[in-house]
């Protein structure tokens, strides 16, 4: 169903119009509107919308082209050997200059800061980074508390024990090859593993073999 507002006859009732509008509306009223013109109008609407879409797509295409060109230009700059050499040299100079500044400032102020009871910037930065890392560790420890249980520390102990055993074997072998008697080493890690509940009943690993003696 057509909306009443689309009907030119209904627009004749409107009072808020200009003279040219009135003439146009009169002309439209005098001419009967065949169904084909309605279809044409619909097609025109669709075409207008299509143009909008096309414009929209054209805009994005232009944007993509500009970005593509910018990326290509950047890549060319970075892949140029001359730029690479200049950049490499600049980084080197900048770092050395910065280091020199830090050293000079450190040397100059190092005697001054303690005199007034203040730490140096490097010390503060070092402490800040360590405190940050410790806070993260603490946070992790709290976060993992639910998932990480005694089992993790048991695995840790078992790994540690197996490393110690392996090192003992290597040490003993080295000493034997030097013609010395092998010292008594720790008992095999099998014992360590066997007391651990949850340890697989069969132990196919070389770590579990009697490597201690």
């Amino acid at each position: 169903m057509a909306d009443d507002n689309d009907n030119p006859r209904s627009k004749l009732n409107s009072t808020d119009t200009t003279f040219s509008d009135e003439i146009l509306k009169l002309a439209q009223c005098l001419m009967p509107e065949p169904p084909t013109s309605k279809v044409k109008r619909l097609v025109a609407d669709i075409t207008n919308k299509g143009i909008d879409r096309q414009l929209h797509e054209l805009g994005w295409k232009a944007y993509d082209t500009v970005i593509g060109a910018a990326n290509n230009a950047t890549n060319r700059v970075f892949t140029s050997p001359t730029v690479g050499n200049v950049l490499g040299g600049a980084i080197d100079i900048m770092l050395r200059y910065q280091r020199f500044n830090v050293a000079v400032a450190g040397a100059f102020f190092s005697a001054l800061w303690p005199a007034v009871g203040l730490p140096s910037a490097t010390e503060v930065e070092s402490i800040r980074s360590d405190v940050r890392a410790m806070r993260e560790e603490l946070r992790d420890a709290v976060a993992d508390r639910d998932s990480k249980d005694d089992f993790a520390s048991e695995v840790h102990a078992a790994v540690r024990e197996s490393i110690i055993s392996q090192q003992a074997v290597e040490r003993a072998a080295a000493q034997e090859s030097n013609g010395q008697a092998a010292p008594e080493t720790r008992k095999s890690s099998v014992y360590q593993f066997s007391v651990w509940s949850g340890w697989p009943s069969t132990d196919p690993m070389e770590l579990g073999e009697d490597v201690g003696n």
Partner: protein, 354 residues
């Protein structure tokens, strides 16, 4: 007008996030978003926190899978949100997944080098899995720098590794096509030494700035415009914000490994077979286990040409390159990769699970 307002709002939010990160520090573990998959910390020592994600489903696999993530960002990108999580996908496929959640190095950890990371931290994590599961050989899946660490571990402790999957590994530094390769090459050993002498570790802000410098237009404007253009897609903005958090999750790189890495890349020593980890040479020819080398063809962080030579350098008989049309991060989080790339990886692992 509303488009400009929305883009401006996204831009403002992003800029504030960056400024806050510079002010309060990048990559604090406390800033990790809630995980999508439940985990249990089964081991912690050195700079390793080992998380276990239990396998789900009926078709459970025998061989445990250890994920080794890169050192310079937080690993929550692998478990970003339900439906967009590599860890979730792997556990649903029946893999018992273990993830090395690297503890960010402190000033005291400046002497942590490849030897400490590979021969102590990863070695202990593997040992913990062996003890935990009772299985001697595990599968390793390393992502980016984590793939390098996994590769070195596999070369030095090959008896403990059943299968090796390397994802976007920055191996061969001889190709020089990408901006990142030129910028890395531009950094002299003297600059690297100065950084370590000044800061102890390579600071997180420096790593963040380095990666942002590579694509300034993208980071300053285009990613926000892109977010606006895709905002009608359900859930897109949530993922975008989580991804942004990950982009700001840089962590410092321990001083020694930073120096060793820059030297390794300068000399291309791992490819040449001269790279020393501790007292031993990380000889890639000692790698004889099945190897799957996954390469992102659109990767602009790790040149595909840098990853490609790996199968030629190892002595495995069962080895292959798997090319996939994705970017560096897309390999881990894009919906397409989860639908098409990861099934190929899990099928490969499943076929070698016995």
């Amino acid at each position: 007008m509303s488009a400009i307002n929305e883009i401006a709002s996204l831009w403002m939010e992003g800029t504030m996030r960056t400024l806050d990160a510079f002010r309060t520090g990048f990559g604090a573990t406390m800033d990790d978003p809630p995980p999508a998959t439940r985990s249990r910390v089964i081991y912690e020592s050195g700079l390793v926190r080992l998380r276990h994600y239990e396998a789900r489903g009926e078709n459970q696999k025998r061989v445990p899978l250890l994920l080794i993530y890169s050192l310079i960002k937080r690993p929550f990108i692998l478990d970003l949100q339900p439906g967009r999580s590599v860890v979730e996908y792997l556990t649903k496929q029946g893999f018992d997944v273990y993830l090395i959640d690297w503890i960010p190095p402190r000033t005291d950890d400046r002497n942590h080098g490849f030897n400490e990371y590979v021969n102590t931290d990863i070695a202990n994590a593997v040992r913990a899995i062996q003890i935990y599961t009772g299985i001697q050989q595990i599968s390793i899946l390393g992502y980016c720098f984590g793939a390098l660490l996994g590769l070195m571990y596999s070369a030095l402790h090959s008896g403990n590794v059943k299968n090796l999957v390397t994802l976007t590994i920055p191996l061969d530094t001889s190709p020089r096509q990408l901006p990142i390769e030129h910028l890395t090459a531009a950094m002299t050993s003297r600059s690297a030494k100065t950084i370590v002498e000044m800061y102890g570790n390579a600071p997180a802000w420096m790593i963040y700035s380095f990666f942002n410098t590579l694509a300034p237009t993208h980071h300053m404007l285009d990613k926000f415009v892109g977010a606006y253009r895709s905002s009608a897609r359900p859930g897109y903005l949530d993922t975008f914000k989580l991804f942004e958090r990950w982009l700001h999750s840089d962590v410092p790189m321990a001083g020694r490994i930073f120096l060793e890495t820059s030297e390794m890349w300068r000399e291309n020593s791992l490819v040449k077979g001269t790279m020393k980890v501790g007292e031993s040479i990380a000889d890639l020819t000692r790698i004889a286990m099945p190897l799957l080398n996954v390469i992102g063809d659109r990767d602009d962080i790790v040149n595909p040409a840098s990853s490609e030579p790996l199968p030629e350098l190892v002595s495995s008989e069962d080895k292959q390159n798997l090319h996939y049309p994705t970017g560096h991060m897309g390999a881990a989080i894009s919906a397409d990769s989860l639908k098409r790339l990861w099934p190929q990886i899990t099928n490969w692992l499943s076929a070698r699970d016995a």
